[in-house]
């Protein structure tokens, strides 16, 4: 970005009390006279440095450039918020306490609905968009913040109660945006340095942020629109660096009164931001698109497969990492199916002797990466429900041999049980499941978040 901050002391306004040329705050109280007013006048004198209008000198800063970045963020963050809400709904938190990471959500869960199982790639698409777009928006967010940084150092900091309150909301806006981007980006890299569970931080943080975002959009949409219409895009695209000039002075506080020589045109700044977004997309998107493109995700956590063969697709957590031992999933392993008909116990051989069904389904993680459609085969959850004496079960509690840990027990909803593609899988791609993919048996449900496709299943409890 064109950072045209101070360009040497000689270029700076020299007057010690003048805060730059004719930028007088509109509606400021009367001229100094009484002692109280004199203190007020002293307060109006900006301290040196970034508080002076002459400090910020980039000739391309102005309402137009800020509005372009703002427009992109308006669209991008709206998509981020909606895909985030869907992602939250996909866990079916209303189904029961084991599914609900955020029991204190109150009205913030007002929109919740039973997550569908059609189309089977719905969650994969939702998370791929949420995470990849979030990564791609980073340069736009940074550019937007760069474009408005002089406003942070407005002097005096506030003149009216309205400005004071708005500054608080802007702290929520900027802090909230950075908090959401930071927790998301750290979480997809398994770098858990944030203070608490990702789910609660990212969920409640999103609501704090979106409150400030909505207010900001409501108050600035008109300004943004007028600024965008003031200069035609084609004019900007035709203007090179040498002919780049500041926007006409206005009340936005963004246009510099002491422009330095342009070192980058507006179209250059847009191209640079766009290039940043494209480069990030290029090294990230492959882990969500899969197929041959996976290898292009050079910096994304799941840009490679962990091996070859039938089980050579990405793993969320290996058996060893969650403490599942060979004994847990060895010959002594049994599946227990609980229902009104009592508890029935099966060995893996007994399960294999029952009618097997096929489903081609992906595994999609909340972290945005996904495995392409794999050929699973095993028992239909619907058949197991009938076996338990509960063909119309409202939910099933799926328990793993994994001891403790988040998502070792989850609840699946009625539509997930009924879908003919929902399996307790025993095979994948024509071979036994590998230990890391959930041997002896795992759940696979269409459009379901990866962690709710429980691995190393030990118990299925069907409920009304």
């Amino acid at each position: 970005m064109a950072h045209d901050e101070q360009d040497g002391p000689a270029d700076r306004p020299t007057g010690s009390t003048r805060a730059g040329p004719p930028r007088r705050p509109p509606g400021s109280p009367g001229s100094p006279g009484s002692p109280g007013q004199r203190t007020a006048a002293l307060f109006r004198t900006a301290p040196p440095g970034p508080f002076r209008t002459g400090f910020w000198r980039s000739p391309i800063r102005g309402p137009w450039l800020t509005s372009v970045f703002g427009l992109v963020l308006l669209a991008g963050i709206t998509i981020e918020f909606l895909t985030g809400l869907f992602s939250y709904a996909a866990y079916n938190p209303r189904l029961g306490p084991v599914n609900d990471q955020t029991p204190g959500k109150g009205i913030l869960g007002f929109y919740l609905f039973t997550w569908p199982t059609h189309p089977y790639w719905l969650y994969r698409l939702n998370q791929g968009v949420h995470v990849t777009l979030g990564v791609v928006l980073v340069p736009v967010l940074l550019a937007k913040l760069w474009s408005v940084v002089p406003k942070l150092f407005t002097w005096p900091p506030t003149r009216t109660p309205a400005q004071a309150i708005e500054r608080v909301s802007l702290l929520l806006l900027v802090g909230g945006a950075l908090f959401e981007f930071a927790t998301g980006i750290l979480n997809i890299q398994l770098h858990y340095i944030f203070p608490g569970s990702f789910y609660t931080l990212h969920f409640y943080g999103a609501w704090v942020f979106i409150a400030a975002f909505a207010a900001h959009v409501a108050l600035r949409l008109g300004i943004m629109w007028r600024a965008l219409r003031a200069i035609r895009l084609i004019t900007v695209l035709r203007t090179d660096t040498a002919r780049t000039e500041p926007e006409p002075p206005d009340s936005s506080g963004l246009v510099t009164s002491t422009p330095s020589r342009p070192t980058m045109s507006r179209r250059g700044a847009l191209a640079l931001t766009g290039a940043g977004a494209l480069v990030l997309m290029a090294v990230t998107a492959g882990q969500s698109i899969g197929g041959a493109s996976r290898r292009t995700a050079l910096l994304a956590p799941h840009g490679r497969n962990p091996g070859r063969g039938p089980s050579g697709f990405p793993v969320n957590k290996t058996a060893a990492q969650v403490g599942v031992t060979a004994a847990d999933i060895g010959p002594a392993w049994r599946l227990r199916v609980h229902g009104p008909a009592g508890t029935r116990t099966f060995t893996r051989a007994e399960l294999l002797a029952m009618p097997q069904h096929q489903a081609a389904l992906p595994i999609a993680c909340v972290e945005g990466w996904s495995a392409d459609d794999q050929q699973w085969s095993g028992l239909r959850l619907a058949d197991l429900a009938a076996l338990a004496g509960m063909p119309h079960a409202a939910s099933v509690e799926v328990q793993s041999v994994q001891r403790g840990g988040a998502f070792s027990t989850v609840l699946l909803a009625a539509n997930q049980i009924r879908n003919p593609l929902s399996l307790l899988a025993l095979h994948v791609n024509g071979a036994d499941l590998s230990a890391d993919h959930g041997f002896p048996a795992r759940v696979i449900v269409p459009a379901c978040p990866g962690v709710n496709n429980t691995k190393w299943v030990s118990d299925l409890t069907f409920r009304k």
Binding site: G104, A162, F194, T244, S260, L298, L299, T318
Partner: protein, 175 residues
Amino acid sequence: MNRLHRRLLRSYGARPVHLLAMAGCLALAAYAALQLLAGRTLAVAAWFVGAALVHDLVLVPLYSTADLTARRTLGRGHTGTTPYLNHLRVPVYLSGLLLLVWYPLILRRSQPYRGDTALSEDVFLTHWLLITAALFAASAAHLALRGLLQRLRRPPRPPAGDTAKRPAPPPGGAS
């Protein structure tokens, strides 16, 4: 109604819609914040406010100073601009952006990565360095190509005319 409007403008400093938007914003934010902060008030508040402070008071000054230093070090060409500046800026910016987003993997900060995914985290530093090298190489190649095209396009002239051919300084440039 009009008088109320004017009184609000005088005492509050903005239109009623501003007050409503702010009240709605703060009420919803406070409602969510009660849960966000529950049991870890200081740590979460530090992250929330700290994110803004680190960006505004560390990251922005850091990259601005770096940019300013680059501009001064490279000096100015005879046209008053710094012709190589953007050939440096672009690869530095893109490489820095990749590092900023993917540093936990590149710098091997991610503790459970290898155990969770059965993948090695050693590749990311190599990838980032290779991408960075490619970005600088592409920028250098572009610069060389520009120079070559400029030389080809410039018709041979008597050496005396050279001084008179300087491009005019850009309008609105020098302060």
